[in-house]
Subunit: 475 residues, 2 copies
């Protein structure tokens, strides 16, 4: 009898899992149940749909229904899994038209994703309405519908306030700027993108915002949204001075993080971990046999610290989905022992890429890295068009093992971080990496690449430290 696989959620996690289940077992019956009305699309692409760089938001759809049909993958859009009978292996589905389905399964894959989180402050929702119905003019960015809403208000000359200066916040801010808005960004912490890179590296992004005319207020806490039917003001508090300030806004976007959709998993009895997300093993299986989970609703060890971590990255969702899809269909695939969290963004002409924990994240895990930070150039000195590029490498103080790296610059940043990703995964030391033969030709890169020079800087520090230690022993 054909194996039955039910997938809850048809985003990049669910969609990819379906594809790889199909590749693994051509005869299995695969069904996706998706709450939204669109088949798999790229959430990461939404800011570029808002700005118009991608002409239509629906261009972001990556797996149109006919492609799914061709792979014999059933999909129920606008439908919800209301309940799962884990013992009997049946998923109860409520379709958009009210029809109820009972889907038997051998394997269940939870790709339920996450929900954008709005801080519990006054005025974000319609008074007396449902708790997640945001007031007119107030948005998050998670879905095509969210993006449409933001687009409808973000025209030339309008004032936009983005709350949260992480990766999503800045990409939305850039989209709003491209649409001609006057953009203000409020950030609770001391700088933007501190989950991606250290403060000193983040400063280059802050400078890029300033250069592009985007006002960023750091250490500001939004305390209230004003406006009756439609929001028109953000009230925020300067955390340094306690002073209150009011920001007029035609459109307000909260980019204040997300929380995994774990209700169904908990219902089934899947164990959640310290981050309150679903715990999975290296086969992407939850604590309930036959039930897999992938992406934003899960936690998995970070590679260096081994701490359970929620990634929120599309790359990781896809990698988990491949493993879950293969295993759900009877194959055998494994995740690496931890995730590197390789991440990248490039709003405002400032490219940022990083891998591994930041210094703060390492220190929180009780590790104090040695740091090599250098300024270099993308091309040889004599070649026209070279750009500054900054590289920071974090290494283990005892053995020089590369723990993470951060790169910021105007161009040629992102692919450079992939070499560090390989190095972290393979356990390379700064000693090895400082000798790495990088690609060189005058129009593409300098003879000695800045990524190796940053490692050399750590190596020199280590040599000095061991010389000093030897000196102390001798005296």
């Amino acid at each position: 009898m054909a194996r039955k696989i039910v997938i809850v959620g048809g985003g990049c996690g669910g969609g990819t899992a379906a594809q790889f289940a199909r590749k693994t077992d051509r005869t299995s019956e695969i069904t996706i149940v998706e709450r939204e009305i669109y088949p798999q699309y790229s959430r990461c692409g939404l800011p570029y749909g808002i700005s118009g760089i991608i002409p239509e938001l629906t261009n972001l759809i990556e797996a149109p229904e006919e492609r799914l049909r061709k792979s014999k993958i059933d999909v129920h859009l606008g439908s919800t899994v209301t309940k799962v009978d884990a013992g009997g292996r049946v998923a109860h589905v409520s379709k958009h038209d009210g029809e109820k389905l009972e889907l038997e399964y051998d394997s269940l894959i939870l790709a339920t994703g996450a929900k954008a989180v709005v801080p519990p402050i006054k005025g974000t929702v319609v008074e007396g309405g449902p708790s997640d119905a945001l007031k007119g003019g107030v948005y998050v960015l998670r879905t095509i519908e969210d993006a449409k809403g933001i687009q409808s208000l973000a025209s030339k000359g309008k004032r936009a306030v983005v709350i949260g200066a992480g990766l999503v916040g800045l990409e939305v801010a850039e989209a709003l700027l491209i649409r001609g808005c006057k953009v203000t960004v409020l950030e609770y912490l001391s700088n933007c993108i501190l989950a991606m890179v250290d403060d000193d590296m983040a400063q280059m992004m802050a400078d890029a915002l300033a250069k592009e005319g985007v006002k960023m207020f750091t250490e500001y806490e939004a305390t209230e949204i004003l406006g009756e039917d439609k929001a028109n003001c953000v009230v925020a508090n300067d955390r340094k001075t306690g002073e209150e300030r009011t920001f007029y806004a035609d459109v307000i976007v909260f980019a204040t993080g997300q929380r995994g959709e774990t209700a169904l998993a908990k219902d089934i009895g899947c164990v959640t971990g310290p981050t309150k997300q679903i715990t999975v093993d290296d086969r992407c299986e939850t604590s309930v046999k036959g039930v897999y989970a992938v992406g934003d609703c899960t936690e998995y060890p970070e590679f260096i610290t081994n701490e359970p971590t929620v990634s929120g990255l599309g790359t990781i969702a896809v990698k988990m989905a491949i493993v879950a899809g293969v295993n759900a269909a009877g194959g055998d695939d494994r995740l690496p022992r931890g995730f590197l969290q390789t991440r990248a963004t490039e709003p405002f002409g400032c490219q940022v890429a990083a891998v591994g924990p930041t210094t703060a994240q390492l220190e929180q895990a009780g590790m104090k890295p040695l740091i090599g930070k250098v300024r270099g150039f993308t091309l040889p000195d004599y070649f026209p068009g070279r750009k500054e590029i900054y590289v920071k490498v974090l290494a283990h103080p005892d053995n020089g093992r590369i723990l993470g790296a951060q790169i910021v610059g105007e161009s040629r940043v992102h692919m450079r971080v992939n070499a560090f990703a390989a190095a972290v995964q393979a356990g390379m030391t700064v000693h090895d990496f400082s000798k790495l033969e990088t690609a060189y030709c005058p129009p593409a890169a300098p003879t000695i690449d800045v990524i190796t020079i940053a490692c050399e800087a750590v190596r020199v520090k280590m040599d000095r430290m061991s010389a000093a230690a030897a000196g102390q022993r001798a005296s």
Copy 2:
């Protein structure tokens, strides 16, 4: 007493060695003896000086004399080391003005580089003249003077013939095309750049040449240069048919390889190896104690095959120079156990990068690699401006270890190869690499990068092979 270091050759090898010797020992006396009249400049930059992308050839000078003086590095330009007394550790120098010097040394670094090789065919040199005095209109590209000569003849509408379609040949061909010449390239082998990549990957470069209007004739052997005082014709033989063909030319450039300058080294008694270049150990020391050698005049094991190899790459010359400079000054630095030969070029809008041996080179060393080759895109499907990119990975059939990789495309090629360089150096397998978290954001790269998909392709092959083998055992 201050340590005395004499460096023969002031190119990127000699210049870099001097710098790192200075860093290692602030009190040493460092002297460079350079045959040419220019201080250290970038030979790799010469084609961009010819084309005019770099406005002046002298812009290529990387270590102007005042910078050397600031580092207290003596340099004698236009000067030759005529003889070395290795027992007494004295180098005899003949300066450009006829003055003779005797330079004592503790360490001697040979950075004598290489000489462009012209095949021994009729008509390349002036009859009755010295054997290395090329006829008017005939050039090689090794020095600023060579570049000036080519530039002087390469104006709009002139016919140029480049002999040799390796990296240098194609970069010169592009420069000539940019200057408005009609360019023909003759290649002895079956395709261009076969020392860089496999034939199938090279074909994309061949297509780029054709698209730009450069005529390439493969399997053609130049047999004679015609013209009395000035060359005006290349006679060549079609190696497939034996047919002879004549190519009119206003300017002829031989890009047919190079041979290390080892005469002085042999004089001193330095052992040379199977490639006839100077053998060095991992400290860059020759068989003669206190005598180091770096760059194009040396050979060193290739990382995968362990075969002694001449690189000709600037990156490797520089890496050797760092090690030689440090050790010559009393420090302790080591080369890796072999060189990866990471290499890159991008003429005619076709970017090529590779690391490790080609398939032919592996087969010659008795290894038959498993191959994963995929076509992908630089950006997500929905993002405007994405370009095709081809990745080929060579892996060990027994264990999946990555032996080499080749990438060709219109953009974002070079930095992608650095991840493979790290992987080869660290001994990563296609299994590990296929799970690598690469940098992703929509304007920069797709969720699953083509570099990992190529490894996945090998992994799938290996799984099939072991399944087939298991099947055979079972039957």
